[in-house]
Amino acid sequence: MATRTVQFEIRRQAAPDAPAVWEKFELEWRPGMNVISSMMEISANPVTADGKPTTPITYDSNCLEEICGSCAMRINGKARMACSALVDNLEQPIRVEPLSKFPLVRDLQVDRSVLFENLIRVKAWVPVDGTYDLGSGPRVYPQQQEVNYPLSNCISCTCCMEVCPQFNDVTNFVGAATIAQVKLFNNHPTGKVLKEERLRALSGDGGIQECGFAQNCVQACPKQLPLTEAISDIGRDVVVQKLSDWVRS
């Protein structure tokens, strides 16, 4: 009996300025296999479907449990995490490409440091006085925790930015992930001391007004963050902040 196989087409690019090529791979099917385990298989036997030796594929991955946010890529055209992309649920040939909105490094690896820069820009932290023992934290009722916890589940995968039509070089839009973090920290009893600064950071170039309400972000988010809700809440807060800054000026 012929062994059952899985067909892949993977976009390869040796360097940022090298030409992109598609390589086909045919792997033996195994139960439970996903896109990452398939690429591990290719590393152990780097040969294309037509028998040509090639190199192992360069990609980011770490936890393989969809919690570290590393392995975002486009699989059959959809931005998603490769570790949780089970082969049995995918149409073949499975087409794997790098995210398109970020500088390409090699093959499926891209540079997503812009998100971390954005998090600095909006001061996405609670400004504690110090790490010495200052007693317990502020009281937080379960109702508040249940609003904040989902926002704190953002894994920085950047899928929401990849799928956003407004996230591009023209608008400099910060993207949904950063806005959700602004909501998270503005909600925190201590974090909210920086609320005004965060809202002002979101009111200028590339700020929240660039959002076009396409709502692709909330669809793409692998962690189901309430992104559109965060955008509309923070959008309102930004307007109020602008008005109050205008009145005060």
Binding site: P56, S70, Q109, A124, W125, T131, V140, Y141, N153
Partner: protein, 592 residues
């Protein structure tokens, strides 16, 4: 003098905790990490973090936490640092709370706690079932704040290769490789802190992340740092077997009432729900009535192996048992365990609210590690270690939810101690050996780039993992341990004939992996041969031929030093600090 330069390697909880303390003290700190630090393996921790805050009116205390930890670790841990950790834990939780970790709350707005393995108290604070993620983010945010103030410089995408050690045997910095440009560079420092996690990759498939290769620990071990208690490897009782890894199913599932069982009759063909209670073997509850499903991990793991391999009661004849949550209401499950149930459903395709999960033990945690003194410094002056990569807090078996606290505590201790050490460091002579060390690393790289043998590094790695998992995990026989070491020697030999299919000098991940593989092979010998020497059973180290703990001979820390010979590392034994709690028999059949 100018404030000393400290290098921290690794951006998980321990590394970030160290960075925060150094930055806060006005120190000058560079942080190196293979991955963006927010993607470090600490993110995978699920169930919670222990601290005896006694918010449930149970009479819990830090002394009880201390006793549970020492007892759970089968008395192998030095007691002074463990005692300090348990005493520091409540303030660590408060700090994390102040930093904004969204811990679960009681109706009154206080921290909620749940029970974990190896204790009878509700001592574990938690943020859903993604506690590690939430803690890592909190520290990551604080480090980002220091970064914005220019107090921390991050080198993400750089891999640590070695320590720079001067002619007097003192560390003077590190060499590292840029994983994009493949550039090698020496970075001088007055002290370095390694916080590079566990060694899961040595076992092929484990619950660890891809970066957890132990390569950094192995590199400094080969440079002269002792490796302690390497033979103590924790196999978590409940993981989800997978093609690429074993995904963790948190102990918190049992902490919230999850029950482990198999049908009493092998090959029971009835649908799960039609198997009545009386036909189910809740073996942990039956065998360990006091602790039940919350016995420590080594005990639960051995019980599952017994059910599967000795009693032949694995589900459908497969190495799997049920972990059942279906009796708990959906709202509670989602609020307290949502994250892990989602993982199970996504990767297995079955809804654990409705059907019991199928789980099996998987390699999870490295109790052993770099030898450090109570100040977290190794035997090479200027090299500190914190977190899972060092050996000091968990003895022969780690209790669930103690890892997060040990990482943060270890980081908090190592940071200030590194500064203190660096301030009294004699001035460097010349370049402190930097050029020579860089040259040594360049030669290793050049040799590897030229290699044109026949051995695929990823295939060698799979063979290593299979051997280590078979012989050096749950049940160990001296014959098997010898076989495993022979196999590693064979792999080390075949490594000389490696074939690097990718020779490019740009983002060459297989090149970086091949370098790590050599270090994995060297370190695996320490784990295996340490196990061979220890003819007793203690915590996670279980030899059926030596079923009892032997305190007279083996209440000792194993210390291995690298020799570079075929015989393997040199081993010596060091007395354990037992000044607070007298060793007693460890048994979970009844309350201790």
């Amino acid at each position: 003098m100018a404030s000393p330069k400290i290098i921290v390697v690794g951006g998980g909880l321990a590394g970030l905790a160290a960075v925060i303390k150094i930055a806060e003290a006005g120190g000058n700190v560079d942080l190196f990490s293979i991955v963006p630090v927010k993607r470090s393996h600490s993110v995978c921790a699920q169930g919670g973090i222990n601290a005896a805050k006694d918010l449930k009116g149970e009479g819990d205390s830090t002394d009880k936490h201390f006793d549970d930890t020492i007892y759970g670790g089968d008395f192998l841990a030095n007691q002074t640092p463990v005692k300090a950790m348990c005493e520091a834990a409540p303030a660590i939780i408060d700090l994390l709370d102040r930093m904004g970790v969204p811990f679960n709350r009681t109706p009154e707005g206080l921290l909620d706690f749940r029970r974990f393995g190896g204790t009878l108290y509700q001592r574990t604070a938690f943020a859903g079932a993604t506690t590690g993620q939430q803690l890592l983010y909190a520290l990551d945010e604080q480090v980002r704040r220091f970064e914005s103030e220019g107090k921390v410089k991050k080198y993400e995408g750089w891999e640590f290769l070695s320590a720079i050690i001067d002619s007097k045997g003192v560390a003077r910095g590190i060499t590292a490789m840029n994983l994009r440009t493949m550039e090698l560079k020496a970075f001088p420092a007055d002290a370095i802190i390694l916080a590079t996690g566990g060694v899961g990759a040595i076992f092929g498939k484990s619950t660890n992340s891809v970066v957890c290769t132990g390569s950094a620990q192995s590199a400094v071990f080969q440079q002269g740092v002792y490796y302690a208690n390497g033979e103590f490897i924790q196999v978590h009782p409940t993981s989800i077997p997978g093609e690429d890894k074993l995904r963790l199913m948190s102990e918190s599932a049992r902490g919230e009432g999850g029950r482990v069982w198999v049908p009493r009759t092998a090959g029971d063909k009835r649908p799960i729900k039609q198997i009545p209670e009386s036909d189910r073997l809740y073996f942990l509850e039956e065998w360990y009535p006091k602790y039940g499903n919350l016995v420590p991990r080594d005990v639960a793991t051995r019980a599952i192996h017994k059910v599967v391999y000795q009693l032949g009661l694995g589900i459908d004849g497969q190495p799997m048992v049920y972990l059942d949550l279906t009796h708990i209401d959906r709202e509670t499950l989602d609020r307290k365990l949502g994250g892990i149930l989602e993982i199970y459903e996504k990767f297995v395709g079955v809804d654990p609210h409705l059907e019991p999960m199928k789980i099996f033990p998987g390699m999870h945690y490295t109790m052993g590690g770099l030898w450090v003194d109570f100040n977290q410094m190794t035997n090479i002056p200027g090299i500190f270690a914190a977190g899972e990569c060092e050996y000091q807090y968990h003895g022969a078996n780690r209790l669930g939810a103690n890892s997060l606290v040990s990482c943060i505590h270890g980081g908090f201790i190592s940071g200030p101690n590194a500064i203190r050490y660096a301030k009294s460091l004699p001035a460097i002579e010349g370049d402190g050996g930097a050029a020579a060390e860089l040259q040594r690393q360049a030669e290793i790289n050049a040799g590897l780039m030229k290699s044109d043998g026949t051995e695929n590094p990823f295939k060698l790695w799979r063979e290593l993992g299979a051997t280590m998992t078979e012989h050096v995990t749950v049940t160990r026989y001296n014959k098997g341990l010898k076989l495993a070491d022979d196999k590693v020697l064979e792999l080390l030999d075949r490594y000389k004939k490696i074939n690097l299919s990718d020779r490019s000098q740009w983002a060459n991940t297989s090149f970086a992996f091949t370098r790590q593989l050599k270090n994995m092979l060297e370190l695996s010998r320490t784990i295996t041969l340490g196990g061979l020497l220890r003819d007793e059973s203690r915590g996670a180290h279980y030899k059926p031929d030596f079923p009892d703990r032997n305190d007279e001979k083996f209440l000792k820390t194993t210390k291995a030093s690298f020799t570079g010979t075929t015989e393997g590392p040199k081993f010596e034994f060091e007395d354990v600090d037992i000044q607070y709690i007298k060793p007693r028999k460890r048994s979970y059949d009844a309350a201790k």
